[in-house]
C-alpha cells in the first residue's frame, strides 16, 4: 500500500511512525513544507524562553522505511487518479492520503501587521530570538495560551514585555475571569505588563498603537492571535471544509481514500488545537488503514490545557465556564487566595468532574486531570481533592493518645501494649525492652517512638510515686 501524508508536523510524523509500527509493508511518503526535521511544537515556548534548546525538542527523524520529502509543497490533489501534485511539477500516487497540514497563524487585519512576527514555527522562534537580542522590550499581541507562554518566555530573558489581549481576561477560552486575574497577577510579578480589553489599531516600526490612541514603544512585536486550519488543498479538491476539513469517526473525508488529522481536521464540529487529540487521531487512522483494528473510531478528546511557563502553574480542563444553575445539576467548588496566586475551581455534574481550573501550585493536579479524563466518580466531599492535606488521617502523635493495640514496631509486630507490659514486668530501659520484644531491631525507624514510649512510662511512674 502507498500512503502519502501531507504535513511533517507532530500529527503527520506521528501517523507515519504509527503506521510503520503496525505494518512494515506500507510505503509511506511524507511531504513537509518546512525543511527542518520534525520537532516538538508543544515545546517551542520553552525554546523561546531558553529553557530548552532547539536540539532538545527535536523528534526522531522519520521511522525507517518512510520517505520524507522536506521543503516540497503539495499544490493539488487529483482525486480521480489518486495522485498529489507538487510545486516542482512532480506527481506522487497514493492508495491512501492523509492530510495533516496543520494550521497557520491568524494575522489580524491591522495596518503594519507584517512588521510583527507570528509565533508558530521554529523559524518564527529563531526570528523572534534574533530580534530579541537587540530589542529593549517586546509587545505580545494575544493573551491566549501561546501568547501567555511567549510573554513569560521573553520576560524570562530579562526584557520588559507587554501582553495585550482583546478580551476582558487572559486565556478567556479556558479560564473564568477570576482565574484570568490571578494569572495576570502572577505574570505581573514576573515582569509582564498585562493589558486586557484592549485592541490594537496599528503596528508601527517602533511600537504598537492601541485603539485608545495610546502607544507602546517596542522594536519587537509578537503575534499570538490564534490559528486557522490549513484546508485549501482539501477545499480545492472539493472535499467538505467548514472551519476545518470535515471528517467522520474514522477521521475520513467523504472520499474514502482521504483522511485528515490534527489541527486541519474538524471532527464532530470541533477543530482541536492541541497535540494529544492529534495523536489519538493518528492512532485511529493507523489502525484503520493497516487493518490492525478495523473497528477503531475517534470519539472526540477531552481537553486539558497546561501552561508551560516557568514559575506559573496553570491547568484548565473541560467546561470551566459552567455555572451553578437553578436545577442544581451543576456544582461549582472554588477557592481563591489571590495574595498567594492560588485559584482552584471544580465544576461537577452528576458526581463527575466536568471542568477544572488550577492556578498556582496544586498538588492534586494529576489526580484531578485523571478524574476528568476518565470520568471517575467523585467522593462525597470534594474538599480533599482541592486540599490533599485534609485527606490525611489524624496520627496518634503522643503516647497518651495511642491505643494499646497500636503497632509501634512494624518489623517485629510490637504494640504499645506489649512495651507497657514489658515495662511493668521490670524492663526499665530501651535495651531491656528491645531484648524482650525485639522492637527496633528491624528497619530501625521506630527507635524514637520506642524511646519516647519508655520515657512516658517512666514519667507516668514518677507521677504515681
Amino acid at each position: 500500500m502507498r500512503l502519502v501524508v501531507i504535513g511533517n508536523g507532530m500529527a503527520g510524523t506521528r501517523l507515519a511512525g504509527e503506521v510503520r509500527a503496525r505494518d512494515k509493508s506500507v510505503q509511506v511518503t511524507v511531504f513537509g513544507a518546512e525543511t527542518r526535521g520534525p520537532y516538538n511544537r508543544v515545546l517551542l515556548s520553552n525554546v523561546l524562553a531558553g529553557t530548552a534548546s532547539p536540539e532538545q525538542v527535536r523528534l526522531p527523524a522519520q521511522a525507517e522505511g518512510v520517505t520524507a520529502r522536506l521543503g516540497v509543497t503539495v499544490t493539488a490533489i487529483d482525486r480521480e487518479s489518486r495522485t498529489v501534485l507538487t510545486a516542482g511539477g512532480g506527481r506522487e500516487p497514493y492508495d491512501v492520503l492523509v492530510l495533516a497540514t496543520g494550521s497557520e497563524p491568524v494575522v489580524p487585519p491591522i495596518p503594519g501587521a507584517t512588521r510583527a512576527i507570528a509565533f508558530r514555527t521554529m523559524d518564527d522562534c529563531d526570528r523572534i530570538l534574533g530580534a530579541a537580542a537587540t530589542a529593549t522590550g517586546a509587545v505580545v499581541i494575544g493573551g491566549g495560551l501561546l501568547g501567555v507562554e511567549a510573554a513569560r518566555g521573553l520576560a524570562g530573558r530579562g526584557m520588559p514585555v507587554t501582553l495585550l489581549h482583546l478580551a476582558g481576561h487572559l486565556m478567556d477560552r479556558q479560564l473564568d475571569a477570576e482565574a484570568g486575574l490571578v494569572l495576570g497577577e502572577a505574570l505581573a510579578g514576573l515582569g509582564v505588563t498585562v493589558r486586557t480589553g484592549v485592541s490594537v489599531s496599528a503596528i508601527h516600526a517602533h511600537g504598537v498603537e492601541l485603539a485608545t490612541g495610546e502607544t507602546r514603544a517596542s522594536e519587537l512585536v509578537v503575534l499570538a492571535c490564534g490559528v486557522r486550519p490549513l484546508a485549501g488543498l482539501a477545499r480545492d479538491a472539493d472535499l467538505e471544509v467548514a472551519q476545518g476539513i470535515v471528517v467522520d469517526d474514522r477521521m475520513r473525508t467523504a472520499d474514502p481514500a482521504i483522511y485528515a488529522i490534527g489541527e486541519c481536521a474538524q471532527h464532530d464540529g470541533t477543530v482541536y488545537g492541541l497535540v494529544a487529540p492529534a495523536w489519538e487521531q493518528a492512532a485511529v487512522v493507523a489502525d484503520l488503514i493497516t487493518g490492525a483494528d478495523p473497528t477503531a473510531r475517534y470519539r472526540g478528546s477531552r481537553l486539558v490545557t497546561r501552561l508551560k511557563a516557568k514559575s506559573v502553574e496553570l491547568a484548565a480542563m473541560g467546561e470551566t465556564h459552567l455555572t451553578e444553575d437553578a436545577s442544581g445539576a451543576v456544582e461549582v467548588v472554588s477557592f481563591s487566595h489571590r495574595a498567594r496566586g492560588i485559584y482552584r475551581k471544580l465544576v461537577i455534574r452528576n458526581d463527575r468532574l466536568v471542568g477544572a481550573i488550577l492556578v498556582g501550585e496544586s498538588p492534586t493536579v494529576g489526580t484531578l486531570t485523571q478524574l476528568y479524563d476518565r470520568g471517575g466518580p467523585l467522593p462525597g466531599d470534594p474538599a480533599g481533592l482541592l486540599f490533599p492535606g485534609l485527606d490525611g488521617a489524624a496520627l496518634a502523635d503522643s503516647p497518651v493518645r495511642m491505643p494499646d493495640s497500636a503497632r509501634v514496631c512494624e518489623c517485629n509486630n510490637v504494640t504499645k501494649g506489649r512495651i507497657r507490659a514489658c515495662w511493668e514486668a521490670g524492663a526499665r530501659d530501651t535495651a531491656a525492652v528491645v531484648a524482650a520484644t525485639r522492637a527496633t531491631t528491624g528497619c530501625g525507624t521506630c527507635r524514637n517512638a520506642v524511646e519516647g514510649l519508655i520515657g512516658w512510662l517512666r514519667e507516668q511512674e514518677e507521677v504515681r510515686a
Binding site: 508543544v42 536540539e55 527535536r58 494529544a276 494529576g366 489526580t367 518489623c411 517485629n412 531491631t441
Partner: protein, 728 residues
C-alpha cells in the same frame, strides 16, 4: 482432574512426629536467614527442648545486627509440626497421598519419567525451580534437566521476579548484577530513588541503608514511602511514562552529564529524541504525578553529590517491565550515575537466592555462569564440564508462565518436577495454572511442607531446608555467601541434591550428580569460569574468611569485584548502552465493567507464597489473613466498612478478602498481598515481550461487598450493619 483434598490434613498429623528431633551439629553456627535477598547474617544454635536460638550477626553489612520478625522466628521453620518427614505418593490419581519409602518414591518418579519420555519425547518432562534454592541446587537442577532428563523445559519462579530487571541490565550494561556495588554504598549515597520497591515490608533492615534523601515512586503510600523526602504517587502501570518525563526534564534543564555520556555510553542521541515526545505535562496526564513533583525529583537526584536509582518489582512486574527498567537506566546514565563510586543503578532482588538463582542455568535460555544457551561457545564450554557432546544439550525452553500454561496440552509437558516453588499460589491466573497442573500425567514436588502445589502432587519428596544443609547464596549485592548447616535434619528427609542424585542414578546417570554441595560447588565454579558470572575463584573457605566474595572472581587470587562498572562496562566496546523505549498502556486498563486497578505486593510477616511463613504462629498472628486495601472514598461508594468481606473479581477469577480502609491507597486502585491463594487468581498473565514477565502489578478488577452469610443470632447485627451507609 480434581485431586482429593479431604485426607491431607488428617494425614499430616499422622505423618509428622510431634516435634522432629533436633540435634545441633554445632552451637551458634554463623549462617544466613532463609528468606529474602538481603540474606541477613544470623547465628543459629539448637536450644534446649528442641527449640532453636537465633541471634543476628554483626559482620554481614546487609543487616549489621538487625533482623525482622521473619528472621527472628525462622528457627520455628525447623521445628514446625507441619514439616514433611517421609515421601508421599498416591496409588492412583484419585487416591490420597500416603507415606512411601524413599526407594519407592524415587522408583515411581523415574519409571513414570521414562515411560512418558518414551511415549512423548524428552520435552514431555519439565522442571520448575525456585529463586530460594542455593547456587548448588539451582546449578544442579539445570544440569539435571539438560543432561539426565534431556529436556529443554526448565524455568523457575525467578521469571516472575527478576527477569525484567535482568534483561534491562544485560541490555544496558552487558551484565545483570542486582546491585553493582556493596550495600554500604547505598547508605552513603546522597540521594536514592526507589522505584516500585517497598523495602520497609520486604526487607526491613534495608531501610537502615536509606539514610539521606529518599525519593519513592509507588502508587501506594507504603511504609517505605512514608520515610521518603518525596513520594511520587504514580498511577499503576505508568512508571515508564514517568521515567521518560524525568529524563526529558533532566535533559532540558541541563542536568544531563554530557562528559560522562560522551566518555562512557553510546546511543544517547536516539534516546534524547525519543523523550522529546514526553514533556512533563503530557506525562502528568498519564501518570497523575504533578509536573512540579517530577521537577523536584530530578533536582534532588541531580543535585546530590552521589545518587542511585533502584528498581523493585513494582516497576518490573509488567508486560513492559524491561522497557520500564530501561527507561530508569537511561535516566541514570544521563545523570552519569552508573560506574561512578557511590552512585549507580541497581535492582533490589527479591528472593533469597534471586541473584544466584538467575545465573547458573535453571532459566530456560541460560547455562551456568550467566551464559546464553544459544551461544555455541557457551554450549561447548558447559558441555565440556558436563562430559557430553554440545549437540546433546537441548536449546532454549519455554518461559515460566508459558511452561505452566501448556502443561498437559498437546504441545506442552506431561510431567513436571517442582523444586522450591509453589506456583498454585504464586503464578498469575493461578486457577488456570492449578487446572494445568491437574491435567498432568505426573506432578512431583520437592518441599519441606505440604504447600498448595505439593498437595496436588502424585509424589511429594520431603527435603532439608536452610539450616540443615550447606550451600551458597548470592545476595542482592552479588556477594556470594555461605549458608552453613547449623542443625541436623530430621530423619526421613533428604536434600534436593540427594534427590537429584537418586533420580539421576535411576535415569542412567550414576556419575555427575553428587549429593555433596562442596563437590557440586566446585563443578559450578568450573562451569561458570569465563562466563559473566564467574565464580571460579570463589571457595567456601574464601567466603568464610572474607564474609562473602563479590562475583566475578575469575581466580582464587582475584579479590572479587564489589563495583564491576567503575572502569568499563562489560559490553563489547566497554560502554553502557542507551536504548530508546516508549510508553504503552497496561495490558488491561480499567473500564466500566472492571473499574479499578488491582496492584499486588507483600507484607512484612510473610514471604512469597507464604508456604513457610503461614506455618509460623507469630507471623500468622501478625498477618493472619488475606485482605484488600480500599480508599475511604471507594469504601463509602461500595458501602464497605473496615472488616467487611469483599469479593474482588477480574476477567480471570475472583477472590474474597477482608476490607481494610486506608488513605494509603489511591482512589482508583485496590491492593492485595499475594501470600495467600486468591490475589493471583485475579492477576493478568500478559507477558513482557523480552523477559516473559507476567503483569502482576496491574490489572482491572471490580469490587463488591460480599453478601453476608448469616448465622442464626447474627441476623440483627448484620442487618443493622447492612443498613449503615445507605440511609446516611
Amino acid at each position: 482432574m480434581k485431586r482429593p483434598e479431604s485426607t491431607i490434613e488428617s494425614m499430616l498429623i499422622s505423618l509428622s512426629p510431634p516435634a522432629p528431633v533436633m540435634s545441633p551439629v554445632h552451637r551458634g553456627e554463623a549462617t544466613h536467614c532463609p528468606y529474602c535477598a538481603l540474606q541477613c547474617g544470623m547465628n543459629v544454635s539448637g536450644g534446649t527442648g528442641g527449640t532453636i536460638a537465633i541471634t543476628p550477626r554483626h559482620d554481614i553489612p546487609a543487616n549489621a545486627g538487625a533482623l525482622c520478625q521473619k528472621g527472628w522466628t525462622a528457627g520455628e521453620l525447623l521445628t514446625s509440626g507441619a514439616r514433611l518427614t517421609t515421601p508421599l505418593a498416591r496409588a492412583s490419581r484419585t487416591s490420597p497421598l500416603e507415606p512411601v519409602s524413599w526407594d519407592d518414591a524415587l522408583d515411581r518418579v523415574a519409571a513414570a519419567v521414562r515411560g512418558i519420555q518414551a511415549e512423548h519425547g524428552r520435552d514431555a518432562v519439565a522442571v520448575f525451580g525456585g529463586g530460594g534454592l542455593t547456587n548448588e541446587k539451582a546449578y544442579q537442577l539445570g544440569k539435571f534437566a539438560r543432561v539426565a532428563l534431556g529436556t529443554s523445559h526448565i524455568d523457575y519462579n525467578g521469571r516472575f521476579c527478576m527477569s525484567s530487571a535482568a534483561a534491562a541490565s544485560n541490555r544496558a550494561f552487558g551484565m545483570d548484577r542486582g546491585l553493582p556495588f556493596p550495600i554500604t554504598d547505598v547508605a552513603a549515597a546522597g540521594a536514592v530513588m526507589m522505584v516500585g520497591g517497598n523495602v520497609a515490608e520486604t526487607m526491613p533492615p534495608f531501610l537502615r541503608h536509606l539514610r539521606n534523601t529518599l525519593i519513592v515512586i509507588d502508587p501506594r503510600d507504603t511504609r517505605t514511602a512514608r520515610q521518603a523526602t518525596l513520594h511520587l504517587r504514580v498511577t499503576p502501570g505508568t512508571d515508564l511514562a514517568l521515567a521518560l518525563a524525568l529524563l526529558h526534564i533532566a535533559i532540558t534543564e541541563g542536568q544531563a552529564d554530557l562528559d560522562y555520556i560522551a566518555a562512557r555510553t553510546t546511543g544517547f542521541e536516539a534516546v534524547r529524541e525519543s523523550v522529546a515526545s514526553w514533556w512533563p505535562e503530557r506525562a502528568e496526564r498519564v501518570t497523575g504525578v504533578p509536573v512540579a513533583r517530577m521537577r523536584e525529583a530530578v533536582h534532588l537526584l541531580a543535585g546530590a553529590g552521589t545518587a542511585m536509582i533502584l528498581t523493585g518489582r513494582g516497576a518490573e512486574q509488567h508486560a513492559k517491565g524491561v522497557d520500564t527498567v530501561t527507561a530508569f537506566i537511561n535516566l541514570a546514565l544521563a545523570l552519569g550515575l552508573p560506574g561512578r563510586p557511590g552512585s549507580g543503578y541497581g535492582c533490589v532482588t527479591g528472593q533469597g537466592n534471586g541473584q544466584g538463582g538467575r545465573e547458573h542455568g535453571q532459566k530456560a535460555d541460560q547455562l551456568p555462569g550467566y551464559r546464553s544457551i544459544g551461544d555455541p561457545a557457551a554450549r561447548a564450554h558447559v558441555a565440556g564440564v558436563w562430559g557430553i557432546d554440545p549437540g546433546e544439550l537441548p536449546g532454549p525452553g519455554r518461559s515460566a508462565y508459558e511452561l505452566l500454561d501448556t502443561l498437559g496440552t498437546a504441545e506442552g509437558a506431561r510431567a513436571l518436577l517442582v523444586f522450591g516453588s509453589n506456583p498454585v499460589v504464586s503464578a498469575p491466573r493461578a486457577s488456570h495454572v492449578g487446572e494445568r497442573l491437574a491435567a498432568l500425567d505426573l506432578l512431583v514436588v520437592s518441599d519441606f511442607v505440604l504447600s498448595e502445589t505439593a498437595a496436588m502432587a502424585d509424589v511429594v519428596l520431603p527435603t532439608t531446608q536452610w539450616a540443615e544443609e550447606h550451600g551458597t547464596m548470592t545476595n542482592l549485592e552479588g556477594r556470594v555467601l555461605l549458608r552453613r548447616q547449623a542443625v541436623a535434619p530430621p530423619s526421613g528427609v533428604r536434600s534436593d541434591l540427594a534427590i537429584l542424585s537418586g533420580l539421576a542414578g535411576r535415569l542412567g546417570h550414576d556419575e555427575g550428580f553428587s549429593a555433596d554441595p562442596g563437590v557440586v560447588f566446585d563443578e559450578l565454579r568450573r562451569a561458570s569460569a569465563g562466563g559473566v558470572a564467574d565464580y571460579s575463584g570463589i571457595t567456601y573457605e574464601r567466603i568464610a574468611a572474607e564474609t562473602g566474595v563479590f562475583w566475578p572472581a575469575p581466580s582464587e587470587d582475584h579479590p572479587g569485584t564489589p563495583r564491576p562498572f567503575l572502569d568499563r562496562f562489560p559490553t563489547p566496546d566497554g560502554r553502557a548502552r542507551f536504548v530508546p523505549v516508549d510508553h504503552r498502556p497496561a495490558a488491561e486498563d480499567i473500564d466500566g465493567d472492571y473499574p479499578y486497578y488491582l496492584t499486588t505486593g507483600r507484607v512484612l510477616a510473610h514471604y512469597q507464597s507464604g508456604a513457610q511463613t503461614r506455618r509460623i504462629p507469630a507471623l500468622n498472628e501478625a498477618a493472619p489473613e488475606p485482605y484488600v486495601e480500599l480508599h475511604p472514598d471507594l469504601a463509602e461508594r461500595l458501602e464497605v466498612a473496615p472488616g467487611d468481606m469483599v469479593t474482588v473479581s477480574s476477567r480471570r477469577g475472583s477472590a474474597e478478602a477482608v476490607a481494610r480502609v486506608t488513605r494509603a491507597i489511591r482512589r482508583d486502585t485496590v491492593f492485595m498481598p499475594f501470600h495467600w491463594e486468591g490475589a493471583n487468581r485475579l492477576t493478568n498473565p500478559a507477558l513482557d515481550p523480552v523477559s516473559r514477565m507476567p503483569e502482576f502489578k496491574v490489572c482491572a478488577v471490580r469490587v463488591e461487598r460480599r453478601a453476608p452469610v448469616l448465622m442464626a443470632g447474627e441476623r440483627d447485627g448484620a442487618a443493622a450493619r447492612a443498613g449503615r451507609g445507605r440511609g446516611a
